[in-house]
Symmetry: D2
């Protein structure tokens, strides 16, 4: 409904976890976002800003300030952010006063490189939400759309839960 | 943002095409929607209404009347419809006067059973759009959100295109 | 165990079926064999000979003569052939008198482009069998290894069955 | 070619690595072998012996003694073992004097749960090799078949290499 490109800012998180056999460890790898958007044959303009490759528990206050500056400086007013789920809400809070942009954070409980993953569905949700919602900060995860200031993570259940303020 | 279940009405189309080796043919098979929603670990309530298993070129005026009645009779005001792309717009038009429901049609250019498919992304988009948009009829395909009365299919390019009325 | 490259001759069949949305039909598409071998990180030398793109029911006697000539003329004595299952046995018979080569035919009941398919497993079997077996013609399908002259297809059960001569 | 069931003994390794979001760690999870064999529509009899769920670096001498006893006690003379790649060769050596069985070790460089993985291809290779080869211990990885006493792992290149004794 808009002709501005949708910008996707990647920060790392489970969604981009890869397996490095030589090290026998899993780490955030090259982002899978472009791969998913091509597989989805996305026909509207989009651009990728590859910002961090971190577990979200490793993101510092400085990182969040950088994220905030990066997003605020974007020309487009439609921004999707891929992010680890552990501190997604903290980053949403750090973005709350960015004016006149629709910002949607999303991520995944299972890496996009897995054959069974919630990554593609969640990214699709973010892509629709960023086009449908008024300016503000939102989170789309596992079939649900949350306002960034009305959500908490229930780590035991492994899901996000709505909080009425 | 709503506590009503999201209803998904399946009508067939490429999204649910399966391969039947005994017949060496592809036909609409059992719907993949529940499989995709489970893989996406969808945490909000949803219900499936398995209405048709047809190529959308085979859908008749009677079928569209049945679709319209089925959707109008649903208690929930949030309805996703999976549908073949060839006549998705005709069905959107047939649903235009259903009052006070948000209805989102989606489908796929490649079957959900393929390892490379736009199905899951499109379904994720529909799931977000149906929660974010006001009552009306919409189509979500390949990264784009269309109003049901402002879209046409460009068959040569294999994509939907916005039409300003 | 050999340093000669393994040659894979493709003839079409379900294993390489693709979906062409513009035509709403399934046809044999570009072969998936190279994709599967790269995903399997195959570390021994191999070459692809892209011979036919046919349903195996469409293969003619002339085609089988061409297949026989092509295989006989290969420098390597280790040859895998991907083939539709309906007439795989006829082609095996046509290859029986090719001297001093190990020839393994394989295929799939579900296209390699599907996320759930027997294609990769069957191709892996063929790759091992062609390195382990003495000269002769063999078929590997769905966990089983058959001599080309001691097998028939049970179309109702959708599987190959051993026949003792 | 045999009517005895093929026994698959699982010991863990990368092939069965899963991601546990609640812990943000990867560990050996429930084995994917049965899933892969069903997807491959394996039509010959097989049985699963779920022995260990360990990184192969964690396998002790006691574990290898247990593995040896378990394999030696099996009624079938066709045994596939899934195993981490780091110490696959040590386990192959520990099995060398098991009499009159064909034993094939296999594994993967990328977890079977990944959409891009060598797991299914390698398992297919093992399934064919165990039916085609005379009694002895073998390794099938990434397109290659090795005798268990004529192979070493080149960790830098991430692959197995033949060693002539």
């Amino acid at each position: 409904m808009s002709t501005q490109p949708i910008i996707i800012v990647t920060t790392g998180g489970t969604i981009d976890k890869a397996y490095f056999d030589a090290l026998s460890t899993y780490q955030v790898g090259e982002t899978m976002v472009a791969h998913m958007l091509k597989e989805a044959r996305v026909a509207c303009p989009w651009q990728l800003v590859d910002l961090f490759r971190k577990d979200s528990l490793e993101l510092t206050d400085d990182d969040r300030a950088t994220l905030r500056q990066t997003v605020a400086a974007l020309e487009s007013d439609r921004v999707v952010i891929t992010h680890g789920t552990d501190t997604m809400i903290e980053s949403a809070n750090a973005l709350v006063d960015v004016a006149s942009k629709t910002i949607v954070l999303t991520g995944a409980l299972a890496p996009a490189r897995f054959s069974e993953s919630d990554a593609t569905f969640n990214l699709g949700m973010a892509f629709a939400a960023v086009q449908c919602l008024p300016p503000g900060v939102y989170i789309t995860m596992n079939g649900q759309v949350f306002r960034g200031d009305q959500v908490r993570k229930d780590r035991e259940q492994g899901k996000f839960v709505s909080v009425t303020s």
